[in-house]
C-alpha cells in the first residue's frame, strides 16, 4: 500500500453566518446540529465567513460543504438551494448576506485563482426572511434546519470512498 492510499479522506462542514443577525445564524445552527450527529472524523466548524479563514478551513479537503444564509427575490424563506462549485463561477442567483469587505462568492473565485479550492465544494444556501440585528431564526427558516442537516449528513455519507 502506498502512502497515498492511507491519507485520510478529509470532509469538512462549515456553517457560515452571524447568529446576531437573525436568519444569518442558520449556518452556525446547522453546523452545531451536524456536529452532534456526524461521525467523529468529519470536521465541523462555525465560521464568520472571513476570506482567508475560509480558505484555510477547506484546505486540502476532499469534500467541503458550506452552509450559509442567502437572499434572492421571489423565493420562499426556508427554501434550500444546493450548488456544487465546478468550473462555473459562484452563481449570482444565490447572493449571500454579508457585511464583510469581500463578497462570499469572491472567496470562492479567490480560492480558484489561488488553486485552493477543495476537491469538491458544495454550497447549501438557505433562503432567509429576517436579517435584522437580534438572535433567533424566523419560523420558516427554523423549520427547514432539520431537513437541511439530513441532506448534509447524506451528502457526507455518500462521499466516503
Amino acid at each position: 500500500m502506498s502512502c497515498v492510499d492511507v491519507l485520510p479522506h478529509k470532509v469538512v462542514v462549515i456553517g457560515v453566518g452571524n447568529p446576531y443577525r437573525g436568519d444569518d445564524g442558520v449556518g452556525p445552527e446547522a453546523a452545531r446540529r451536524v456536529r452532534a450527529a456526524a461521525p467523529g472524523w468529519v470536521e465541523v466548524m462555525e465560521h464568520d465567513g472571513e476570506p482567508a479563514g475560509l480558505l484555510d478551513a477547506w484546505d486540502a479537503a476532499d469534500l467541503a460543504i458550506v452552509v450559509d444564509a442567502v437572499r434572492s427575490s421571489g423565493v420562499d424563506p426556508g427554501h434550500v438551494h444546493r450548488v456544487e462549485i465546478t468550473e462555473s463561477r459562484y452563481p449570482a442567483s444565490t447572493p449571500t448576506v454579508s457585511s464583510h469587505g469581500i463578497d462570499p462568492g469572491d472567496v470562492v473565485e479567490l480560492a480558484r485563482a489561488l488553486g485552493r479550492l477543495p476537491r469538491r465544494l458544495v454550497l447549501y444556501g438557505i433562503e432567509g426572511a429576517n436579517f435584522a440585528p437580534g438572535l433567533g431564526l424566523s419560523t420558516e427558516v427554523g423549520a427547514s434546519v432539520n431537513g437541511l442537516v439530513t441532506r448534509v449528513l447524506n451528502e457526507v455519507a455518500a462521499d466516503v470512498p
Binding site: 464568520d48 472571513e50 482567508a52 479563514g53 457585511s99 469587505g101 469581500i102 469572491d106 485563482a113 489561488l114
Partner: protein, 435 residues
C-alpha cells in the same frame, strides 16, 4: 457621458464595496462645483453604549469586542484601560507587554487584509482581489500568509482569532508559556521579510497628488510607537492633552444623513486619526528598520497624501512584525496572569490605537462596579467629517472625468481611509448629483 461642461450631476454609490459595513455616498454638483458630499450610513445604530449601562465593570472587554470582527482587540484594550483607570489599578509591565503583542497580531491581520485584498486592487486597475489573484497569485498568497500570522498571534494569546476570549479586566485569564509562543517567532521572521517586500511592492504604485490639511490626532505612548496604551493624545496643531480631557477637546454631533456621529475638535473643526496621524506624529518612535524602510519607500517623516496611506500601513505592518518578534524573544510570563481589580465609584478613561486610529472609551462606575454610563468614540466616526471634506476637494478637481471614472475614483478615495462602517455605525453607495 457628462462632463464639467454640463455642470450639474449626481454621483451615487448605493453600496460601497471593499469597506467594512454598509453605507452609501452622495455627491451633489451645482454650476460646475461640488456643493455637498454626504457619507450616508444606514446600518442601524448599535446602541452599545446604552446596553452597557447596568452591566458589571468586568463585562466591557467581551461585550465591546463584538462591535467589530476586524478590530476586537482594540475594543478590549481601550475598555480595559478605561476600567483599570477608574479602579485605580496598575498593571504588571509583563502583562502590558503581552497585551501589546496581542495588539500587534490585530494590526498585522487588519493591515494585511486592507493592503492586499481591499486597497491594492485600486492601484493596479483591478476590480478586486480575485482579479489580482488571477494575475499575481504569489503576491496574494503572501498577503494571506501575513494575515494568518496575525491571526496566529491572536489565537495564541487571545484564545481565538475573532473576538478573543482570553482578555479580562486586569490582564488575561491565562498567559501562554514561552514554549507556546516560540513557534510564532519563526513565522514572524518570515512575516518581517514579507512586510518589507510588501512595502517595496506598494511603494511602486502611482499616487495622485492630493494632500490633506486636517489636524492629525493620535495617542502618545511614552518612548514607543503608539499601539496599546497611553495616557495622552497629541495633535499636529500642538494639542497635548490627558485622555481624561478627551471629551473637552472632542465633541460629537448628530447629522441627518448618517447613523454615525460627526466628531470635531473644539474650536478647531474636523480632524483625522489613523495611520497617517500616527506616522506623522510618531515617526521618530518607529524602529530604525521601519524608519529606514519608510525612507527607502519614498516617504518623509510626514505623509499627508491619503492615497499613500497604503504605504504607511505597510510601514506599520513591518513595525508590528518586528515589534511582535521582539516581544516574543524577550517574553517572560507575568508572575500572575491578571491583577485583581476591585470596583469603586469613579470615572475611567482609556484610549488606544486601533488599526484605523484612536479608539476612546469612558466608563462611569458605581461603588459596586455597575456601569452607570459608557461612551465609545470609534476612529471612523472621528474621520467622517474629514473624509467628506477631502472628497469634496477631490471631486471638485476632477469634474472633467466621465461619471463612471469619477465614481470609481471616489470609491478608491474612500478606501484610502479604511473606513470601518460597522464600528462607526455606523457606513457606504456613491451618489453624484449635478444640476
Amino acid at each position: 457621458m457628462t462632463h464639467r461642461g454640463s455642470p450639474s450631476r449626481t454621483l451615487h454609490v448605493a453600496a460601497l464595496a471593499r469597506v467594512e459595513g454598509e453605507g452609501a455616498m452622495h455627491v451633489e454638483v451645482r454650476n460646475g462645483h461640488v456643493t455637498d458630499v454626504q457619507l450616508q450610513i444606514y446600518e442601524p445604530p448599535r446602541f452599545f453604549e446604552a446596553f452597557l449601562r447596568g452591566r458589571a465593570f468586568t463585562e466591557p472587554p467581551d461585550i465591546t469586542a463584538r462591535v467589530c470582527g476586524i478590530c476586537p482587540v482594540a475594543y478590549q484594550m481601550s475598555a480595559c484601560a478605561a476600567i483599570e483607570d477608574a479602579c485605580g489599578v496598575s498593571i504588571d509591565p509583563a502583562v502590558s507587554q503581552l497585551r501589546r503583542l496581542l495588539y500587534c497580531g490585530e494590526w498585522i491581520e487588519s493591515h494585511a487584509l486592507h493592503v492586499y485584498l481591499l486597497h491594492a486592487p485600486d492601484f493596479l486597475g483591478f476590480d478586486g482581489a480575485v482579479e489580482l489573484a488571477r494575475t499575481n497569485r504569489s503576491i496574494v498568497e503572501r498577503g494571506l500568509q501575513l494575515k494568518k500570522v496575525g491571526n496566529q498571534i491572536m489565537e495564541a494569546i487571545g484564545g481565538r482569532a475573532i473576538h478573543p476570549v482570553n482578555v479580562r479586566v486586569g490582564g488575561f485569564y491565562r498567559v501562554p508559556s514561552p514554549e507556546e509562543l516560540s513557534p510564532l517567532a519563526e513565522r514572524l521572521r518570515w512575516a518581517l521579510d514579507a512586510g518589507l517586500a510588501t512595502l517595496r511592492w506598494v511603494a511602486g504604485f502611482n499616487f495622485p497628488d492630493f494632500d490633506i490639511d486636517h489636524e492629525l490626532l493620535a495617542v502618545s505612548q511614552a518612548g514607543t510607537y503608539p499601539i496599546d496604551a497611553g495616557g495622552r493624545l497629541s495633535s499636529s496643531g500642538g494639542l497635548d492633552f490627558d485622555v481624561k480631557d478627551f471629551e473637552r477637546h472632542v465633541v460629537e454631533e448628530q447629522v441627518a444623513h448618517s447613523n454615525a456621529l460627526h466628531a470635531r475638535l473644539v474650536g478647531r473643526g474636523s480632524y483625522m486619526v489613523g495611520p497617517l496621524a500616527r506616522y506623522c506624529l510618531n515617526f521618530s518612535r518607529l524602529s530604525p528598520l521601519a524608519r529606514e524602510a519608510a525612507i527607502d519607500a519614498g516617504l518623509g517623516a510626514v505623509c499627508r497624501n491619503p492615497f499613500r496611506s497604503i504605504v504607511v500601513r505597510s510601514v506599520e505592518l513591518v513595525y508590528a512584525c518586528e515589534e511582535a518578534l521582539r516581544l516574543i524573544e524577550s517574553y517572560e510570563p507575568p508572575a500572575r496572569p491578571f491583577a485583581v481589580v476591585a470596583p469603586r465609584a469613579a470615572v475611567g478613561y482609556g484610549c488606544t490605537e486601533a488599526p484605523r486610529g484612536a479608539l476612546y472609551h469612558r466608563y462611569d462606575l458605581a461603588a459596586d462596579g455597575t456601569i452607570l454610563a459608557a461612551r465609545i468614540v470609534p476612529p471612523t466616526s472621528q474621520n467622517q467629517a474629514a473624509i467628506e471634506h477631502d472628497l469634496s476637494r477631490f471631486v471638485d478637481a476632477r469634474l472633467d472625468l466621465p461619471t463612471p471614472e469619477l465614481t470609481s475614483a471616489c470609491e478608491q478615495a474612500i478606501r484610502n481611509y479604511d473606513p470601518c462602517i460597522s464600528c462607526a455605525t455606523h457606513f457606504l453607495d456613491l451618489h453624484l448629483d449635478r444640476q
